[in-house]
């Protein structure tokens, strides 16, 4: 096996394309999972079980089936009902949806972690329920949520290569394509391996810094 720097040079334009796709999927998937996870967590606290029960069943189902199966389902089955999205959109939605079923548990735990005394003080001051949520409970809960959400972002980054399965060319997709066309596997795979570490390690350092700042 020989290391060929010119192959690295040839791969780089494809690498940048792949990197862009990976980062897009990561950022949009994260946003969806952050927002949707909070929505699920709040719905699970609805006063009626006619809301809690379906939300519980659906999210439990999504959490306990593989992301890859969900990707295939959204990409190949939905079009049979004339629901079609681009591969990228489908991928981002699938990742965001899948991870929202994890982030909802982070939100749930942190909401439950707000001391009962905070609710009681809000009641004693006669704050309306929505105001209690937006001004008292959520600001305190979300502060605790950041470190755990950060871990899921890193986990999500490592799941983005699955998008390859539905024809989206992320970093791994680009590397595989390049490798198959040029019969050079070592260089492109090494490059993207290093790229993953260069993204995820600083990200985890950032999370730790945020954790120190936010959790007082």
């Amino acid at each position: 096996m020989t290391w060929d720097w010119s192959a690295v040079g040839d791969f780089m334009p494809h690498f940048w394309d792949g990197l862009l796709v990976t980062l897009q999927a990561l950022v949009l998937g994260s946003l969806i999972s952050f927002v949707l996870g909070l929505v699920w967590a709040l719905l699970m606290r609805a006063p009626t079980r006619w809301v809690r029960w379906p939300v519980g069943v659906v999210t439990e189902f999504i959490r306990n089936t593989p992301l890859l199966v969900q990707l295939f389902f959204l990409f190949y089955v939905l079009p049979e009902w004339d629901i079609t999205f681009s591969a990228m959109t489908t991928g981002v939605v699938a990742i965001g949806l899948h991870y929202s079923t994890y982030t909802m548990q982070v939100y749930r735990a942190s909401i439950e972690g707000v001391p009962a005394g905070q609710w009681e003080a809000a009641t004693a001051l006669n704050l309306p329920l929505t105001r209690t949520w937006t001004a008292v409970i959520l600001p305190q809960a979300i502060r605790r949520v950041v470190p755990a959400l950060g871990n899921y972002v890193i986990s999500m980054l490592k799941d983005t290569p699955m998008l390859m399965a539905i024809t989206v060319l992320d970093m791994l997709g680009e590397a595989r394509l390049f490798a198959q066309q040029n019969f050079q596997f070592t260089e492109p795979l090494t490059v993207i391996g290093v790229a993953f570490i260069l993204i995820s390690y600083p990200a985890s350092l950032l999370m730790r810094a945020l954790e120190r700042r936010l959790v007082r």
Partner: protein, 272 residues
């Protein structure tokens, strides 16, 4: 204390200070599981009075405050505040469990200070005090802040207005909590063991503030405390609780000086 007492202006807004009945418990029973905390309890408090509830722990004192603050509901019986049912409302001549709107309306008259302060840690001192006046009473931000400054002056914390609760000592936090409760101009102030969580050297500062308020206002106060000398100072009436009932009640001189029941004597002997 400032020359201009922010509390005295309350008297105009406080309709019932004529000593008429403000709070009435009527056959109130409250159970937690098998444990009957309040047992068929009747008692009333006249407006403007300072009433201290004493008794062994588990005798239901705090539960009375929590019932009044609507933090928990009675299993049986009714509670009236200012002539309105607290957890019930009358519909077509029948008494039914109250809706949220009715509860909020009656609850407006009541404020509470908690053992654990329960300040909002995500808000600075100023906003802790102005949040409810602005969002609940619809006060303008400026008016609410002016009142907050006056109240902070009153509790001696004017210079801490821009701090977060975590930057204050327990005693300071509790004085902010008192200011926060007063900002809502309640007719009734509930004090739930407000010095129990404090380091001993911080207790006096909080009690001094409360003595000031008791002396200079006509707010009705219900106070659960183990600080017997404070109770003796501020109370018009002391209620001795035992096993979810009022064992005896009377002016502080009577209860502390010459109690009728041996049980009261025993209790006071243990805490004094």
């Amino acid at each position: 204390m400032s020359a201009e007492n922010p509390l005295t202006e309350d008297s105009g807004a406080n309709p019932a200070v004529d000593g008429s009945e403000l709070i009435r418990f009527d056959k109130v029973t409250k159970r937690f599981g098998d444990n009957t905390v309040l047992d068929d309890l009747d008692f009333s408090v006249a407006s403007g009075k300072h009433v201290t509830l004493i008794g062994p722990s588990g005798s239901g004192k705090t539960t009375i405050l929590r019932l009044l603050m609507t933090l928990t509901k009675p299993d049986e019986g009714t509670i009236k505040v200012g002539g309105d049912y607290l957890t019930h409302e009358e519909k077509n001549g029948k008494l039914v469990p109250a809706g949220e709107k009715h509860i909020r309306e009656v609850r407006k008259n009541i404020g509470m200070v908690f053992q654990q302060f329960n300040l909002f840690p995500n808000m600075k001192v100023l906003r802790n005090i102005t949040e409810a006046p602005v969002t609940v009473l619809g006060m303008s931000k400026d008016a609410a802040e002016e009142r907050a400054r006056e109240l902070l002056d009153l509790v001696g914390l004017a210079e801490h207005i821009d701090k977060y609760p975590s930057q204050l000592s327990g005693g300071q936090q509790q004085r902010v909590a008192i200011a926060r409760a007063l900002a809502m101009r309640p007719q009734v102030l509930l004090l739930d063991e407000v010095t129990s969580a404090l380091d001993p050297e911080l207790v006096a500062g909080v009690l001094d503030v409360l003595r000031d308020i008791a002396r200079s206002t006509d707010i009705t106060m219900l106070c659960v405390t183990h600080e017997m000398s404070f109770a003796r100072d501020i109370s018009d009436q002391v209620l001795m609780f035992d096993s979810g009932r009022v064992l005896e009640s009377g002016p502080p001189e009577k209860i502390f000086g010459d109690p009728e029941h041996d049980r009261t004597r025993e209790f006071l002997g243990a805490v004094l």
